[in-house]
């Protein structure tokens, strides 16, 4: 009795799988594609504008950063096109591998002498100055892929704590632990955020969601209060400088003060594209994590809001695709990718504007970092792939 039933369901699954893989799919979602290209283009222009003084002072070639970023952008766009043409269901076969590889790389990077250390953080692999990448970037993609695959299969079982929550918590815990060892707090926050968001959407119990967010919120508030009361000293500088960077504008608060000065001096219309003065070595990390401050200085509130609007449209369109997706797997893939983009964009802007305490999160499409850009574009390819299989609206 069990045998034929098993055969039958297996047969059905395989047929389903064949159907899924055979699906040719329709056209890419044009708005999403255009928004992605728009952001990539604006991102490159702003990167050039923000980076040329540093590039000039460092190497004499004002376009040094732009050139490297542009190469990666081309690679990224190619990977996006390729991925966009691939049926995303084929990714299911790679999820475990991706998970293991990324775990391997995360372990590799913290082995002394293997990873590249910058600013007391060992986050990079590769050959310094030629090609480097952060395993945590790959880890984010791996988590998205694995969680999408796994959660989509569990369906209503997600409501069960032992099946729907515990395994994922363990996986996220391992990733978080490895990344905290680098240390890479912002990456940890992102990866946990992405994972949790996928679990939430995947259907874990509502009270767990409430408890989780409530708990995190409460802990954060408590932490800030304890730091202010002087009871906790870990990360106290960060919190104090967030509260008032002008307490120490020369050293600890320097980055934040310079960022606020950049943004504030932009005013409504900005000082003009390319005309930022803060990028002349006043604002550190002006082409990395703090590129948004230069954007605000050069393009003003108007320009910054337009760029935010493009991000918002991209995110909304992304989630719309998730809502329309053919199946749970596609939907969760897109949710994962868009959560990553949205969280990363928000956290970056929040840090740069002083909404949240400083932590190193790059701005998607804008910040300098070739592998990250290429991966982001590849992820856009995943979203585009999902968009191709959105069922046509039923007629009648």
């Amino acid at each position: 009795m069990a045998q034929p039933r098993s055969d039958r369901s297996q047969h059905r699954r395989e047929t389903e799988r064949k159907n899924l893989l055979a699906a040719k799919g329709g056209a890419w979602d044009l708005p999403f594609l255009l928004l992605t290209l728009l952001l990539t283009g604006i991102g490159l222009v702003m990167l050039f504008s923000a980076s040329f003084p540093s590039a000039y002072y460092e190497s004499g070639d004002a376009a040094a950063y732009l050139k490297r970023q542009a190469v990666w952008a081309v690679l990224g766009l190619s990977s996006m096109v390729v991925m966009g043409r691939i049926n995303y269901h084929r990714l299911r076969g790679t999820v475990r591998l991706a998970l293991y590889v990324s775990l391997f790389l995360l372990v590799l990077v913290i082995i002394p002498g293997v990873g590249i250390t910058i600013n007391n953080s060992t986050r990079w692999l590769g050959i310094d100055g030629v090609f480097t990448f952060q395993p945590s970037e790959i880890a984010k993609l791996a988590v998205i892929l694995y969680f999408a695959d796994s959660i989509s299969k569990r369906k209503e079982k997600m409501e069960d704590f032992r099946q729907g929550v515990l395994p994922y918590m363990v996986i996220l815990g391992v990733f978080a632990l490895l990344m905290l060892l680098e240390p890479h707090l912002s990456g940890t926050i992102l990866i946990v955020g992405i994972g949790v968001m996928m679990m939430v959407i995947g259907g874990i119990k509502a009270w767990l969601v409430g408890l989780g967010f409530g708990g995190v919120g409460a802990v954060a508030l408590l932490y800030v209060q304890l730091v202010k009361a002087g009871i906790i000293s870990y990360g106290a500088g960060r919190i104090l400088m967030w509260e008032n960077p002008w307490l120490d504008p020369q050293v600890d608060g320097y980055q934040m003060v310079q960022s606020l000065i950049s943004i504030g001096s932009g005013g409504l219309w900005g000082v003009g594209l390319g005309k930022s003065r803060q990028k002349f070595l006043f604002l550190p990390e002006e082409h990395n994590d703090f590129i948004f401050a230069i954007v605000c200085e050069e393009l003003g509130l108007i320009g910054a809001c337009i760029i935010i609007l493009i991000f918002v449209l991209l995110i909304l369109r992304g989630f719309w695709i998730a809502l329309q997706a053919r199946d749970r797997f596609g939907s969760l893939l897109v949710v994962g990718v868009m959560t990553q983009i949205a969280l990363q964009t928000f956290l970056n802007m929040a840090v740069v504007t002083g909404l949240l305490p400083a932590t190193g999160i790059s701005l998607p499409f804008f910040s300098y970092g070739g592998t990250a850009l290429a991966l982001q574009l590849f992820e856009m390819g995943i979203v585009l792939s999902v968009s191709r299989q959105i069922p046509a609206p039923r007629k009648g």
Binding site: K155, I201, G264, S265, R277, I315, L323, S331, A342, M349
Partner: protein, 746 residues
């Protein structure tokens, strides 16, 4: 059997609905709520805090280089420059940069090398330079403010030759005062930051300073110019120029004579003198003593003040303040008898006295039970004589006749209560008893100028009003303010503040005061060829026995143009001259007037007697026969002496064309060789005019008398001579001697 898959599919549908719902919520939160927060924060930073943050940005991104505006020039009445700004350079070092340079391998020089050389060039101590180099947190330590150009060039050469970076020069302006100490109290000076601290420099700071220009350059964090040019220019606007009423020539004569009598009579607390145009209020000269050199205003110049510092009885700071004080308006004094002019004018105006009023002086007067003594017992006097004798009881009587209220009103009307309002800083206010406390006895004292204090400038303004037809003018020193193109921004308007007394009364006052000089205590103030009116004053300073002696005079007495006040504070009593205004101040006033009246173009009008002694042009008689020459000289009123026995005049002393006093003796050479030997000036001081004439003629010199020639007591003698005794001068040189009476009581 059917139930199970149904329930399962129901569960899946429910799960899918949850996914849909949650995705939608997450979409709204991620896509809208979070970014709305960012947008709000951006609005806060870029709009609400824009200005504050932009200022911070500009502060760190730009380096502004000041373009110093040239400070306005101060000219005297005839266009001579009294104060001018010239280019100078301030030398400063950047300790931070020097420290960085010193760490570089290619740097060949050392700290000590740099410091010792700069110390040598700039004339400052090496230690101070090394100390400043220690302040490596700083980028700006001044080594020398406003170094002269040659010094600056030497520094530049030294820096270039040794390839030193970190020491810089910036162009700055330095104030020069071409006349040094001349009119120092009026002009004042500027401090290290080129802002006026004293005198007109302070008073007209806003006009003189101009606007500093700016060149704003964008710079990167290391202070280098940014890759692209960002420069903004704000033009410097030079300061406005001042044209003063002060005339350097008048001022020079004033200061020369003032310094002379201060030294001669050992005036402990200095002296002041003012020359006023009575018809406009323009101050032509204003001197105060002790004075100082504007180019070196910190150095105490006066020997007495130096001595006080050396003795430790006074600090340098106090003595600096002393020498910077303009006694003409920063200090007040009890005027004494010169104030009788005011009493006289008010009493005549109110009709309580007339020109026919007489007064019998018994040597004292009793007011409210208090006996007030006179300088003598003058017996019966006419009104003019009471002025000429400076009779205190007479003037007390005139004052009492006016009554307290009227008298007080006149003092107010003459501007004595409120001050003169001159356009100089720090005018002191007079000190008077309040009107409600003003008793008969107070009035009695006020009537002859005691028991209250006024500034010399307020007093002379009031006295000018008494003689100019009754018009009170506000004294002033700035005639015009010109902008840097020379167009007139301000022109002083001399309109009288009010008419205090009538033209007729004023004429009577002039008549009385001319009599004071021709026949009274003011006779030492006579100036040959001029009608002078005046009044002496000798005021007690409390009960110490110290006095302020003063003399105020004006000329011409019938139609006054200028008025002069000379006041000497606390002269010594043992100089052989009786310490009184008539004996000490009047001769000085006469000397000043005799020099400035012709200079100001006020023509002398000689009496017949004076005309004989008046200056005459000596004709050239060389080549003429001796007979012809002597006839010509006789005709012109000259005496002559012939040396040699020829028939023709071969030479003469003085040479033809020279202006010499009439009745002088001319030496004619008839064949004999003219002697080249210099003559020694004999001592003439103390001699009578006749004795002085003989002594001068014997020495081969000519003599010119000025000052009084008449004396009731017969004590007229030479008070001073233009060439010091013992000096060698060419034969025929004219020695001017000041005649005077050394025993005048007031």
């Amino acid at each position: 059997m059917d139930n199970k898959p149904n329930r399962k599919s129901e569960n899946i549908r429910r799960a899918n609905r949850v996914i849909q719902r949650r995705t939608f919520v997450v979409m709204l939160v991620m896509g809208l709520v979070l970014f709305a927060l960012v947008a709000v924060k951006l609005f806060q930073l870029q709009i609400l805090r824009h200005e504050e943050l932009q200022k911070l940005a500009l502060d760190q991104q730009t380096r502004s280089t000041e373009v110093t505006a040239s400070r306005g020039t101060i000219y005297d009445a005839s266009g001579d420059i009294l104060a001018v700004s010239a280019t100078a350079e301030t030398v400063f070092l950047s300790p931070l940069e020097l420290a960085e340079e010193l760490e570089k391998e290619e740097t060949t020089w050392t700290k000590e090398f740099l410091a010792s050389n700069l110390a040598r060039i700039l004339d400052i101590s090496q230690e101070s330079i090394l100390q400043k180099m220690e302040r490596t947190y700083s980028q700006y330590e001044v080594l020398k403010l406003r170094a002269d150009e040659d010094v600056a060039n030497e520094v530049r050469t030294f820096l270039n030759e040794n390839d030193i970076r970190g020491v810089y020069l910036v162009t700055d302006a330095k104030r020069y005062y071409p006349y040094g100490s001349l009119a120092s109290h009026i002009i004042g000076f500027v401090g290290d930051d080129n802002t006026g601290l004293y005198g007109l420099e302070a008073r007209y700071e806003d006009q003189l300073e101009g606007h500093t220009g700016l060149v704003v350059t964008a710079q990167d964090v290391a202070g280098n110019d940014m890759l692209y040019a960002y420069e903004q220019y704000y033009d410097a606007k030079d300061g406005d120029d001042l044209v003063l009423t002060i005339d350097t020539t008048v001022q020079y004569y004033l200061e020369k004579n003032l310094e002379e009598i201060v030294n001669k009579y050992d005036a402990d607390l200095g002296a002041t003198a003012i020359v006023l145009n009575v018809n406009t209020g323009a101050v032509l000269g204003m001197a105060s003593y002790p004075n100082y050199d504007l180019n070196d205003f910190g150095t105490v110049q006066d020997q007495k003040l130096q001595q006080a510092i050396a003795d430790g009885t006074a600090s340098l700071g106090d003595m600096q303040l002393r020498q910077w004080r303009n006694k003409a308006l920063n200090d007040t004094y009890e005027p004494g008898s010169t104030f009788k002019i005011i009493t006289l004018a008010a009493a005549l105006e109110e009709g309580v006295i007339t020109m026919d009023t007489t007064y019998d002086c018994s040597g004292s007067i009793t007011v409210s039970g208090q006996v007030i003594h006179c300088t003598g017992t003058h017996r019966h006097q006419t009104l003019q004589q009471t002025a000429a004798n400076s009779c205190n009881p007479a003037f007390i009587t005139y004052g009492l006749a006016l009554g307290q209220e009227k008298f007080y009103d006149y003092m107010d009307a003459f501007g004595l209560m409120g001050g003169s309002g001159i356009d100089l800083d720090g005018e002191a206010t007079g000190i008077f008893i309040a009107e409600e406390d003003f008793t008969q006895l107070d009035l009695a004292c006020y009537a002859f100028g005691q028991n209250f204090n006024v500034t010399p400038i307020a007093l002379i303004a009031a006295q000018a009003a008494c003689v100019n037809g009754g018009y009170l003018y506000q004294p002033y020193v700035v005639q015009q303010v010109l902008d840097d193109d020379g167009s007139v921004l301000y022109q002083h308007d001399s309109t009288p503040v009010r008419q205090v007394i009538s033209e007729e009364t004023s004429a009577k006052v002039r008549q009385c005061l001319e009599y004071v000089v021709s026949d009274g205590t003011g006779r030492n103030g006579q100036v040959t060829g001029y009608r002078i009116g005046g009044k002496t004053g000798t005021a007690d300073k409390g009960k110490t026995g110290d006095v302020v002696v003063s003399f105020v005079c004006f000329a011409p007495a019938d139609d006054p143009e200028i008025m002069l006040l000379v006041a000497l504070d606390t002269p010594a009593e043992d100089t052989g001259t009786y310490p009184s205004g008539g004996a000490m101040a009047a001769p000085a006033a006469s000397a000043i007037m005799s020099e400035i009246l012709p200079y100001l173009g006020i023509m002398p009008s000689y009496s017949a007697e004076e005309l004989l002694g008046a200056d005459t042009t000596l004709p050239n008689v060389v080549g003429k026969s001796v007979a012809e020459a002597t006839a010509l000289l006789k005709d012109r009123g000259f005496s002559y002496k012939i040396v040699g026995d020829g028939d023709t005049v071969t030479d003469q002393t003085p040479t033809g064309g020279t202006v010499i006093p009439g009745r002088s003796t001319v030496v004619l050479y008839a064949g004999a060789e003219k002697s080249d030997a210099a003559c020694t000036v004999p001592s003439l001081v103390g001699k009578t005019p006749a004795e002085a004439n003989v002594a001068a003629t014997n020495a081969g010199l000519l003599i010119r008398f000025t000052g009084t020639t008449s004396s009731s007591s017969g004590t007229v003698c030479v008070l001073s001579q233009s060439e010091q005794a013992g000096t060698k001068v060419p034969a025929g040189t004219v020695i001017t001697v000041q005649l005077g009476d050394t025993a005048v009581a007031d």
